[in-house]
């Protein structure tokens, strides 16, 4: 068999986190009863006119700057004409001729080191409504709540060669956009959507093969599976002496299979033309500079700062800054409890463990940095011991519980009653002559066992330091 290489370019749609829609003042909030976040503009009522949300332009500019794009300082919207019931005007306001950002690039880390992925363009557009097919009454209904929610579409160059590179690129985009606060980029909720353009060619070939476009990819895993599947499908076609047909395919992740939606022949002519209801957007040098000045601290800078300012190990800083959410928790909690190392330990240890256990993304963390800081404070002040802290943290992780209240209510404070503890220590020592013997014979480890026994007898509430001290005293007096 010949040696093939996969060539992939991505079209990534990102829903922007503006409060209101792109062309009207309706809320962009997800959910809500159908057609409650609507007005004449986003339902395509006759006579209504779009007015551009400035925040959309600023987010698009910010993403463009963060991905090293050239900003088109005189840009326009165009109408993309097609009929579909989720599209109330039967045209989508988008950008074709003068997109807001062009010629950008981002760097990703691959097995073979750093690789640059080109960004062809980023343009702004409006989302469509949602069709709901009612099986009961055999009809389709339209919910226009999503109609007019702002999107940017980030079109990459065909620079990726594997599923790993695609995932790395998407993670990079997601991180940048989350750092900007421009979107939460949730693939499963559709606030980030990726269409994969894929073709194959013989290794060393200079021209591209015929590409297909894969839609309906709702997770990184689905994307990886779809890429592998489509690569194989195309290789099989070529090996069998057949041709790849340029078409749009839909991925079914349950069946791990894709099917053709429409071929190039029935590709629609969108009859793009400049949107006459909107005036051109003129981005002055001052405005551009303003947005540039407002760009946040990105991951690399943050990482470096965590190492220098908070003395975190490089490894910890790397993990924590991977997700804006984690970095935010880290900074806020540290600011309150002034103990970066301990905050880092909770994030690197317990948080990561629980995330893995519940197969969650760091994006989905819901606990507040305030409660984490309080917990660290409780340990520092010797109110609870480390073991109890673990138990309390699980509660914080799950329900964002206030640790002070929780400790109080559940009676988890460390036992400081020395006389009581002394009694327990004496009992434990009496009950475990073998360990005492071992300790006396120089087996230092034996004391660990005894401490454990005392802790158990105190139902975990004993102060470990006190236990140690009392044990040693008792043993040396024997």
């Amino acid at each position: 068999m010949k040696q093939y290489e996969t060539v992939i370019g991505l079209e990534v749609h990102v829903e922007l986190a503006t409060k209101t829609k792109i062309f009207c003042s309706c809320s962009t909030e997800f959910g809500g009863a159908p057609n409650t976040h609507t007005c004449p503009v986003c339902t395509g009522m006759p006579g209504s006119l779009p007015v551009l949300n400035k925040q959309v332009v600023e987010y698009a500019m910010a993403v463009g700057l963060a991905t090293n794009c050239k900003i088109t300082q005189y840009c326009k919207f165009d109408r993309k004409n097609y009929f579909y019931p989720d599209n109330p005007q039967n045209y989508q306001i988008s950008q074709l001729y003068l997109p807001i950002c062009r010629d950008g690039k981002v760097e990703i880390q691959t097995e073979n080191g750093t690789k640059t992925i080109g960004i062809h363009e980023i343009h702004m557009e409006e989302d469509a409504g949602k069709l709901i097919h009612d099986e009961w009454s055999d009809c389709s209904l339209v919910d226009f709540n999503r109609s007019g929610v702002p999107l940017i579409e980030i079109v990459s160059e065909p620079d990726m060669r594997s599923a790993e590179e695609v995932i790395a690129y998407l993670e990079k985009l997601r991180m940048i956009i989350q750092y900007l606060g421009a979107s939460d980029c949730k693939l499963n909720e559709g606030s980030m959507r990726a269409d994969v353009n894929l073709s194959i060619r013989e290794v060393g070939a200079e021209t591209f093969g015929t590409r297909t476009e894969m839609k309906n990819l709702n997770s990184f895993k689905a994307i990886a599976r779809a890429i592998e599947n489509e690569t194989e499908r195309q290789i099989d076609l070529l090996e069998a002496g057949k041709e790849v047909i340029q078409e749009t395919r839909r991925w079914d992740d349950n069946k791990e299979y894709s099917y053709a939606m429409r071929s190039k022949e029935d590709a629609q002519d969108y009859r793009y033309f400049p949107e006459p209801d909107l005036v051109p957007i003129v981005i002055s040098d001052e405005w551009l500079e303003e947005v540039r000045q407002r760009q946040p601290e990105f991951r690399d800078e943050k990482k470096a700062r965590y190492v220098s300012e908070f003395k975190l190990p490089e490894y910890d800083a790397d993990i924590i800054t991977q997700y804006k959410k984690m970095a935010d928790i880290f900074e806020k909690a540290t600011e309150i409890c002034k103990n970066p190392k301990k905050v880092s330990n909770y994030l690197m240890g317990e948080t990561m463990r629980l995330l893995k256990e519940k197969s969650m993304d760091p994006d989905e963390l819901t606990f507040s940095p305030e409660n984490l800081a309080k917990l660290i404070g409780l340990v520092d002040k010797g109110v609870i011991n480390g073991n109890t802290a673990k138990e309390v943290f699980a509660q914080i992780f799950e329900n964002d519980t206030d640790p002070e209240v929780y400790v109080e209510e559940h009676g988890l404070k460390m036992d400081q009653d020395e006389d009581g503890l002394k009694k327990i220590v004496e009992e434990v020592v009496a009950a475990n002559p073998q360990s005492v013997e071992d300790y006396k014979n120089g087996k230092e480890k034996a004391i660990g066992f005894l401490v454990g026994q005392v802790m158990r007898a105190s139902r975990g509430k004993a102060n470990p330091g006190m236990v140690n001290q009392l044990l040693k005293e008792t043993l040396s007096n024997m």
Partner: protein, 489 residues
């Protein structure tokens, strides 16, 4: 006294002076409507009950001293392409036969704030596409000067209603001459303002980059007063312009001394009816006698305006009218099989022939492979036409010409030859392409007794120049009323 014989401003004064009640004015309008509407059919929708209710409210506000607009209490007719909340708005199309808007157009809201009482919605060419008001799905409108002739279009109903005195004034819209040409045919006065002066929010779009709402009335004073009321900067319309001057009535001055008026030679060539030519040139003479400096000049690119217009307007229309699909509102075909069949049948049955023609034309010129050759070229032509006018306005304050090459044609004579009908827009269309203000006002009648319109064109945001010239000319003659109007005296 026949209240309908008064101009809007005259009637407004009487209402304010408590000589006339709002209710009396509204009843007078309906009295005339009930007399003549069967024959002339200016309206698509009338709502007497609502108008009388509104009359009471307005009267109360006037009595309480809360309304001091010159138009308070004066009955108005609105072209049926402007949304009116709760009042049917059809664009004279079957596809919107049952459409009740959920909001009111900004220009109409501005009138309502000034205390206007809406009588109903006027007939028009379907979606404002046409020059005769014959493409309406709800029957033709007849010219009050001669019922065998068309009133012009597309604001034919708005102009005939003013001429037949079925309202005191009306609003029309003008994409390629749709206020000025029917004003000319009906012997009334109409202004197409500078693009961006009146909000388009709530105006059901035909050619978005060309559409403007404007007033139709008996005289220049009314038109200036109405324009002052409806013009506003509207943040809901991105193409709306924050102007420095909205005081159009300040230009109602009978003085054109030293005003430079240019007459484009090419406007007086082949195709222009001689009676129209004579009347328009005589008007120019009158202005010259009043002290204006009148001279002929060469205006370039006149022949390119019509093709450029039909490419741009049709392209925009093909997209603007896509929303009428039977899904959300308006007409839906009763029997269909699946989504695409529903679209196809709804639109085939819901739109008339002229609208379909322009949707097809517009879809064609935007198609991939043709876009550059047609649409892009038309946009460039538009820009060049604007430059020609810029050059002209370096020399002149006002450009003078006819509003239409002929007087109103007979009913049934125009639609069979659409190219000829399109050529009838030659004097009005370039004004829309260049975004300029234009006014049409009566300047005589032909041997058949049909009115002839004089058109005055100004530079962008120079409405005051054309208002002043029109007002000065108007002082030299008296407003001629048609027999249908006089019959009620």
């Amino acid at each position: 006294m026949n209240l309908m014989s008064l101009t809007a401003v005259e009637l407004g004064k009487k209402i304010k002076a408590k000589e006339v009640t709002v209710k009396e004015a509204v009843l007078a309008a309906f009295d005339q409507i009930e007399k003549v509407e069967d024959v002339y059919h200016s309206y698509v929708t009338l709502d007497k009950e609502q108008a009388l209710k509104r009359a009471e409210e307005v009267q109360k506000l006037i009595d309480e001293g809360k309304l001091d607009s010159p138009l308070a209490g004066v009955p108005v007719a609105i072209k049926d392409n402007m949304c009116t909340e709760g009042m049917k708005t059809t664009c004279s199309s079957r596809i919107l036969e049952n459409f009740y808007p959920t909001y009111t157009a900004e220009a109409v809201l501005n009138l309502e704030k000034a205390g206007a009482v809406i009588l109903g919605k006027t007939n028009m060419d379907e979606f404002a596409m046409g020059s005769t008001t014959e493409t309406s799905a709800y029957g033709v409108t007849r010219n009050p000067w001669n019922e065998n002739h068309v009133p012009g279009g597309s604001s034919g109903g708005s102009c005939s209603a003013v001429a037949a005195e079925e309202c005191s004034y009306s609003l029309g819209s003008d994409t390629g001459g749709s206020i000025r040409q029917p004003s000319s045919f009906c012997g009334v006065t109409g202004i197409k303002p500078t693009y961006g002066t009146v909000s388009r929010y709530g105006l059901i779009a035909y050619g978005s980059s060309l559409d403007q709402i404007g007033p139709v009335a008996k005289d220049v004073t009314d038109c200036a007063t109405i324009l002052e009321t409806i013009a506003s900067y509207d943040p809901k319309d991105s193409t709306s312009v924050k102007r420095e001057d909205y005081d159009f009535t300040s230009a109602l001055v009978d003085d054109v001394k030293g005003m430079r008026i240019g007459i484009p030679k090419s406007y007086f060539g082949e195709g222009l009816d001689t009676e129209v030519r004579d009347a328009v040139l005589s008007a120019a003479k009158t202005l010259e006698e009043k002290g204006a400096i009148v001279e002929e000049f060469d205006l370039g690119l006149v022949d390119y305006a019509i093709p450029a217009y039909y490419v741009i307007a049709s392209a925009e229309a093909s997209s603007n009218l896509a929303r009428f699909d039977g899904v959300k509102y308006g007409y839906r075909t009763p029997d269909y099989d699946g989504l695409h069949n529903m679209y196809k049948k709804t639109r085939s049955e819901g739109f008339g022939a002229e609208v379909k023609r322009r949707i097809m034309l517009g879809s064609f010129v935007l198609s991939s492979g043709y876009y550059d050759a047609y649409y892009l070229k038309a946009l460039r032509t538009k820009a060049l036409i604007k430059k020609e006018f810029d050059k002209a306005f370096e020399k002149y304050d006002v450009i003078l010409g006819p509003a239409a090459p002929t007087t109103a044609p007979e009913i049934g004579k125009s639609l069979s030859d659409p190219i000829k009908m399109y050529l009838g827009d030659i004097y009005t269309i370039s004004v829309n392409l260049a975004g300029l203000p234009g006014i049409s006002l009566p300047c005589g009648r032909d041997s058949k007794g049909l009115p002839i319109g004089l058109q005055l064109i100004g530079d962008c945001f120079k409405e005051k120049n054309i208002i002043r010239a029109a007002y000065a000319f108007e002082q030299t003659r008296t407003y001629e009323r048609c027999d249908v109007a006089k019959a009620r005296d």
